[in-house]
Point group: D2
Chain length 267, copies 4
């Protein structure tokens, strides 16, 4: 089956890697960078499967001030070193304006997190950065507000924007959030930017990561952002939603099947 | 790619047609039965594509007392007559306890609507009927409450239950509801009953029916319930979400592609 | 301070008792009628404080089929007998159309519950009954849908309608529901019917019943519907929100203070 | 009627003005500081009624990049100058970390806005400031998350925190947000900090500001934050919810009546 996808303006990440083009792009990695060993173990698996982008948090925005807050710049150094070893690109989050220079130095894609979707000074700062921006949808934000947040970035000059739907807060309590596949389809219709899906935050449960990944891709997502961990129960943050590293082949296989149904490949 | 789907207890609709088995089942038809001609035109298209079930509303639960309330028993007669002509099965909604005998007479599957998901007397009445029941999720109900509503039916003796996720009410206003694909996957894990997706009510927009249909199937849905109309803008109810009859081949083609990716066929 | 309240069409309950007039009306009683002794103990306290209406459930719409479902007609008989002994009026819920005649026989006000707010056959049935109707807002229904549900009743001829805001379902989990005081104020502006507040369901916590009662009255509510119990922890349903019978004097005292600030008395 | 309010740790704003003590404190002012004349006109009315705190936005976090973004530092200078003339205190919002020194210079209370409730770098920065902090609840944040955000401030050393409930995002569309009076009562039970109510954002409609103000105070709020304007329809931001300056006497009169019912005065 061929299908006419809405026209998006692809974001080139490398000479041979584009988000928003024919192929969908998988970005996997730990919620938090916990150690060199953990990060390298994940990177090795990604590289073995020809995946190209590793995600990982160095500055962790935690609801409680008493939770693990990330390794900070040390985490970024680990990510960069491991990524360089395996030829990967890095996506990581800037928690505030003051992190943007650091992220521009160590990462290839700067992430703006869900809680910061309407932190306008940060939007303006990444709007002036020289790196692509991954803008997560606020879990409390409408599609319209999300696209307006992207405009805050674009009007500062940076049009290399990648949107990411990561679930919204609803009355349902069996899942951490509700994956809004309508929003994925709608954002692709209304805006020129590619759209990823994040099945980890959108479900909060590792047993739902596979179906949510399939659903996001089927809705038209241009890629996935997935939290993986070599030993999920021991993860220092978001352990419930960490997808086991050993199951990455199954995730890839299912992603390929859905992508193929839409005439797309997986990178 | 083959994939291990959770074990469901399939519901047999006919000697050669089962919901919750290997193949997904598409149930298409008008929101409201408006006339014999409209209903027959739709049935002819379904039959031409070897689809087996027609859906249609005779008693319409309308928010405002001043809206079109459906043709009543006359609508059921039209559905039955047209279905018999083309060898189709009928699914239609019982608005209250007093409609159950009528539905049991004219329809093959009795639908309990979203607003009635916790109308317990109706659950008990269909629990004593001899026909399979299609139980829509309340747009305000958690997955747990939905499954408990199904238990209200099952404890009265009728275990031929088909669940249907049709979108939940959230803060998002760009779509009528939010299709909860997490819930489709979760219900299939937690309960023995097959689960359909309803992309029409879950989006409220005909331009999102295709991606929502793909997403629901990718999440593991055992079928779809879709509102179609020969001339959507003229529909007497829910015109915005009516999917054009002429685009049914495209819907089928996309459904087949996704189903095939999961090792399933389409009926 | 005097204040201009919007004009409502008061509903007369007895020659000397009106809802929607100058005074606010308190309707207290058990969630479920559990026994004659429990019901009589409550009625005695209400009468001792010159309160005029007892509320109590005979048919309980329970989410799980395995929970206590109420005493049925026996419960209504207990309510009637106790109410007659103490000169009280009875408000109780019709769970379905088939209960309406029974409620019209035993009760003075027929309640339509939150889960049934859009069960149209029930709205039509109470619209033809000879008793005032207490229409609870659906916990996921907009104010507009609520007022349209009331119109479904009114268009059948019964204009003696009392609205009741009982909390809506939101993302907040610390409380069972969210008391929507905006809706109380708005409904009184938009519709001719009196509006009560239900602090029990709106909070789900007995420690919040007092502030929620004050808030509802301050928003302009014409009365309160409150679940009370002689021994809250032993209540057979909704134990967490049962307000202790012994604290009724404090509830009354606080209600009188707020009502007085608005130029109203308490009945 | 006297009533035992939960113990809060009052925040002293001036030698003779405390939030969280016996009296409730009203903080009124424009959404945005638009001009010297507009701000002075409002300040004169506040002073004439012996109110002590003026609120006003200098940096406006606007959803769209094309809306009025505030006067910036110039707005803060206007606020300070007018406040000094009339002996008022100033509360204004820091949009980001980089604004904190400016706010600490010009304002008496630094506000953290609803969209920034989980912008942790800002919480940490105001946690190290020498001024009291007014922390608005995120419009999609639970009470627990709100109190944890306050802890992010307190653990940096600043315990002079004033909470403010400003409405949450729900499915209801007739009002901009839903005033969560349950949360006001709950926050006062669970935390040592005073709690204000913001009837302007919580309703988004000037015709609901009076009942929402009464409700918030009746729930136990220690004060109100209200947007007022000399000519509401001409307001440059949030015109729909601007309360007319000429109606401030009525607001004060109603606030006094409710406060008195709880044994409190109004400052």
């Amino acid at each position: 089956m061929t299908q006419t996808l809405p026209a998006t303006r692809p974001v080139a990440l490398a000479p041979d890697l584009t988000v928003g083009g024919r192929d969908v792009v998988l970005m996997l990695g730990p919620c938090s960078v916990e150690s060199y060993a953990q990060t390298r173990a994940i990177a090795a698996v990604l590289a073995a499967h020809n995946l190209r982008v590793i995600r990982g948090g160095a500055f962790k925005p935690r609801t409680s001030p008493h939770s693990f807050q990330g390794l900070g710049e040390e985490g970024l150094k680990i990510l960069r070193s491991v990524a360089d070893e395996f030829g990967l690109l890095v996506v990581s989050e800037a928690l505030g304006v003051e992190h943007v220079p650091l992220l521009a130095e160590y990462a290839d894609i700067i992430q703006v997190g869900s809680r910061n979707m309407q932190h306008f000074p940060l939007l303006w700062a990444v709007g002036e950065a020289e790196k692509p921006v991954l803008l997560k949808r606020g879990f409390m934000s409408t599609v319209e507000e999300w696209l307006q947040a992207a405009e805050h970035i674009a009007t500062r000059g940076n049009e290399r924007i990648i949107l990411c739907e990561r679930g919204i807060r609803t009355f349902e309590t069996a899942t951490r959030n509700t994956l809004d596949v309508n929003a994925i389809a709608l954002a692709r219709q209304l805006a020129p930017w590619p759209v990823l899906g994040d099945p980890s935050h959108a479900t909060g449960r590792r047993d739902l990561v596979l179906p949510a990944s399939r659903s996001a891709l089927a809705a038209g997502a241009d890629g996935l952002l997935v939290e993986v961990h070599p030993d999920p129960p021991s993860a220092l943050s978001d352990a419930e939603q960490a997808f086991p590293l050993e199951a990455v082949p199954e995730l890839l296989s299912q992603a390929r099947a859905i992508a193929a149904a839409l005439g797309r490949g997986v990178r």
